[in-house]
């Protein structure tokens, strides 16, 4: 019959592993869905933005033709030019903000990698993976726990080393430009 402590330890580790892996799988699924939705949204936003811009340009060209024909009063032309300038400003802002998908997908990708790494760490002491010898005394159990601690620390460090943070922006404001 297994030492009570050994059995409890085995149950604890497999419980943490099983629950952890299960919940992380849900996190992974939700993140993948978020990524898919964002991908779909940016594709449609991008297409609409280009279509709206093309239509606005065509309209401006029509106005320019009418102005050339003296078909529009000068004060109206001035107002239309001011509106055109305002529109160009908003186009620039829209272009900056439509880059959100690039930044958010990098962040989501990093989270997914971390989740996969954590799943591997937890799976290492899942049900049936880590057997605590039935007659383990306190010393053996302490040694086993130390071994697990070391493995977790090594895997955690390895995970950190491959998860370089590439996006630190918190706002969609244009970044700096520097020529060397």
């Amino acid at each position: 019959m297994k030492n009570g402590l050994a059995l409890q330890l085995e149950r604890l580790l497999s419980g943490v592993s099983d629950h952890g892996v299960r919940h992380l799988a849900e996190v992974e699924a939700d993140l993948a869905q978020t990524g898919a939705l964002l991908g779909d949204a940016i594709e449609k936003l991008g297409a609409s933005f280009l279509a709206i811009h093309a239509a606005a340009r065509a309209q401006q060209e029509m106005v320019a033709l009418l102005a050339a024909d003296n078909a529009i009063a000068p004060e109206i032309i001035a107002k239309l030019q001011a509106m055109s300038g305002e529109m160009n400003q908003h186009v620039g802002i829209a272009v900056t903000n439509l880059q959100f998908h690039d930044l958010t997908s990098q962040l989501i990708g990093r989270v997914l990698q971390r989740v996969a790494g954590l799943q591997q760490v937890l799976a290492a002491f899942g049900s049936g993976t880590l057997a605590v010898p039935p007659e383990s005394g306190d010393d053996q159990i302490a040694a086993l726990i130390n071994g697990i601690n070391r493995k977790v620390a090594v895997r955690s460090k390895r995970l950190d080393s491959v998860l370089w943070k590439t996006v630190r922006q918190n706002r969609m404001e244009s970044g700096e430009a520097e020529l060397f």
């Binding site: 272009v95 690039d102 430009a177 060397f180």
Partner: protein, 122 residues
């Protein structure tokens, strides 16, 4: 006058779309590549006037692409700008050492981008 042609290298299709929109609006021609490897292949068959590249891409990252381009005879002097989310001095130093001529941090403002590009290639 023949329009200058810019090679844009980025694994984000939506980003490449905004980049192309901004550059074409002021008269440049744009050729897109989906990552460093694709960019290098395209660069080998045509000498572009400017290369704009992201850093973090699958298959080949930006720094590796820059080093590979600088090893090509016809790309020794072609301006190459990094256009990336990374803003740290460490990465900029690596970019400069690899052969980049400048560093732009995402997201870009189209007017500012075009000012920089005009300064570099006219």
């Amino acid at each position: 006058m023949i329009a200058k042609t810019i090679l844009t290298v980025d694994d984000s299709s939506s980003f490449r779309q905004m980049l192309a929109f901004s550059l074409k609006a002021v008269g440049y021609r744009v050729v897109e590549a989906i990552d460093g490897e694709d960019g290098l292949e395209k660069a080998k068959s045509h000498t572009f006037d400017l290369v704009l590249t992201d850093q973090n891409m699958p298959r080949m990252d930006g720094l590796t692409l820059i080093r590979s381009l600088r090893a090509l005879e016809n790309y020794r002097k072609v301006p190459i700008l990094m256009l990336t989310t990374e803003a740290g001095d460490d990465m900029k130093m690596k970019g400069r050492a690899a052969g980049a001529n400048g560093w732009l941090v995402k997201p870009f403002d189209p007017q500012r981008l075009n000012e920089v590009v005009k300064k570099v290639i006219g």
